[in-house]
């Protein structure tokens, strides 16, 4: 019992901080750079990503275990996962619009944006490669998405501060953001001593 809890904790920390989805795996860079201008929108995007990744890891895990594996067609995982994730996001959007309007409005345009986010597919495939079960896979998915949220909110905060700084002409705009992201990646390397 305690061993499995400990394992889950290790996965939580490893996926969210040490093997951070953005800063060490380079998944989901487009929302990372695109939706990190304001902390509030970044937090909204992060919430949407946590929501979708946790759900999609559950569904893709189940499909892998009960459909692809028994039929011996695991090589179809990428295309099937893409299909399933896209459909899932659509479904979640419909469901939220009907039953949880406040959340639907809070997530807004970010929800459909995630359909094509590679972080979602990346987690699903990592789960398969590491041979996680469905439950562990969900924990891994949640941790990865939490890591995404942490990093995007930090970057958004930094960008808000940088607005008022005197940035050299050549570095204005995207270059300084990418430099910041690089420094953040180096800083996150510090977490590798955690486990």
């Amino acid at each position: 019992m305690w061993d499995s809890v400990k394992d889950l904790l290790v996965i939580l920390i490893a996926s969210s901080l040490i093997n951070n989805v953005i800063l060490s795996q380079f998944f989901g860079l487009c929302p990372f750079l695109g939706v990190s201008k304001k902390t509030s929108t970044a937090a909204g995007m992060g919430a949407a990503v946590i929501f979708v990744i946790t759900l999609s890891t559950a569904v893709t895990g189940a499909i892998y275990k009960y459909v692809l594996k028994p039929l011996d067609v695991t090589y179809l995982q990428t295309i099937v996962f893409i299909l399933v994730i896209a459909a899932l996001v659509q479904f979640v959007e419909m469901f939220l619009k009907k039953f949880v309007v406040s959340l639907y409005e809070a997530l807004g345009v970010y929800l459909p944006l995630i359909t094509t986010n590679c972080a979602v597919l990346g987690v699903a495939i990592t789960n398969v490669q590491k041979e996680y079960g469905i439950g562990v896979g969900i924990v891994n998915g949640f941790a990865t998405a939490a890591g995404f949220t942490i990093v995007i909110v930090i970057l958004a905060g930094l960008r808000e501060k940088m607005e008022h700084n005197d940035v050299p002409e050549a570095f204005k705009g995207m270059p300084i953001v990418l430099l910041t992201a690089g420094l953040m990646a180096i800083a996150f390397c510090g977490f590798s001593g955690l486990l």
């Binding site: 039929l71 067609v73 179809l76 099937v80 299909l83 459909a87 469901f95 009907k98 039953f99």
Partner: protein, 263 residues
């Protein structure tokens, strides 16, 4: 891979696709959200070509804003008065008076009237040309370049380059303002459809410079200002401007203009 492998893969993807399709279809019916009836009716009344001229993301965005009362009922520049009236009927609000406007290119210096300083062979796009020496090959620095950036951007096929200058088809133009935005020379503006007389030149050069560059350029001589009985003409930067609110359409300025720059 054997043929059975291909068939299995096709079947599995097909089956999953079919399942997802049915599932989403069922969900769409089950979770159908009652959209505001007004919003649907407004959306149906809008032109539906999603040009973005109103400033909202597409017609559905504007429909939602109108239904919420955030946008004016005649906010659609394309539909103009007719659509504004329909929507005001739906919303039960009086439409404010909206003037039917069309785009107008303030230049008539076509190939016969202006000269070329040099031959330009490069990317055929006005925005590109504004970076080349002299702001384009035409001797007039303010004139229409005639490479048709406005033509490409027009969603209604209402603007065309004829004999080296852009000309707006007044009947087709819906005043969405895309060409106004794209023109690097800022030659195009929205004018009232029934404007009687407009100065078809944008040259802000001094008279002699304009005179050299184009046979029909406004030289800012001020004859139109003197002759106008309604005091509607002003001269700014060696260039006449007609105030459409004051213009009575008598045509005295057009007759007097020595350069035939007023239409």
């Amino acid at each position: 891979m054997s043929i059975t492998g291909i068939l299995t893969a096709t079947l599995i993807i097909g089956a999953i696709g079919l399942f997802i399709g049915l599932f989403l279809g069922a969900a769409a019916i089950k979770f159908k959200v009652q959209v505001d009836e007004k919003e649907e009716a407004v959306l149906a009344a809008l032109p539906g070509n999603n040009c973005g001229g109103c400033g909202y993301p597409g017609c559905s965005g504007l429909a939602a804003a109108i239904a919420k009362g955030e946008a004016a009922v005649n906010a659609c520049p394309v539909g103009g008065e007719a659509v504004g009236k329909t929507i005001s009927g739906i919303m039960g609000v009086e439409a404010e008076e909206s003037v039917h406007k069309v785009a107008f290119v303030h230049c008539k210096g076509d190939c016969g009237k202006t000269t070329l300083d040099y031959e330009y062979t490069g990317i055929e796009d006005c925005r590109m040309l504004s970076f080349v020496p002299g702001g384009g090959p035409k001797s007039c620095n303010y004139g229409c370049l005639g490479f048709g950036s406005c033509v490409k951007v027009c969603p209604f096929d209402a603007i065309h380059v004829e004999n080296g200058i852009a000309v707006v088809d007044r009947e087709k133009c819906r005043a969405c303002g895309k060409c106004v935005e794209v023109c690097p020379k800022n030659l195009i503006s929205l004018v009232p459809y029934d404007a009687k007389h407009i100065v078809a030149c944008s040259s802000k050069d001094k008279g002699p410079v304009t005179m050299k560059a184009c046979t029909t350029g406004c030289i800012g001589c001020g004859l139109c200002k003197k002759v106008c009985p309604a005091d509607a003409v002003t001269i700014e930067n060696f260039h006449a401007v007609i105030d459409q609110d004051k213009c009575t359409g008598c045509g005295a300025c057009k007759e007097k203009c020595p350069k035939d720059a007023i239409i």
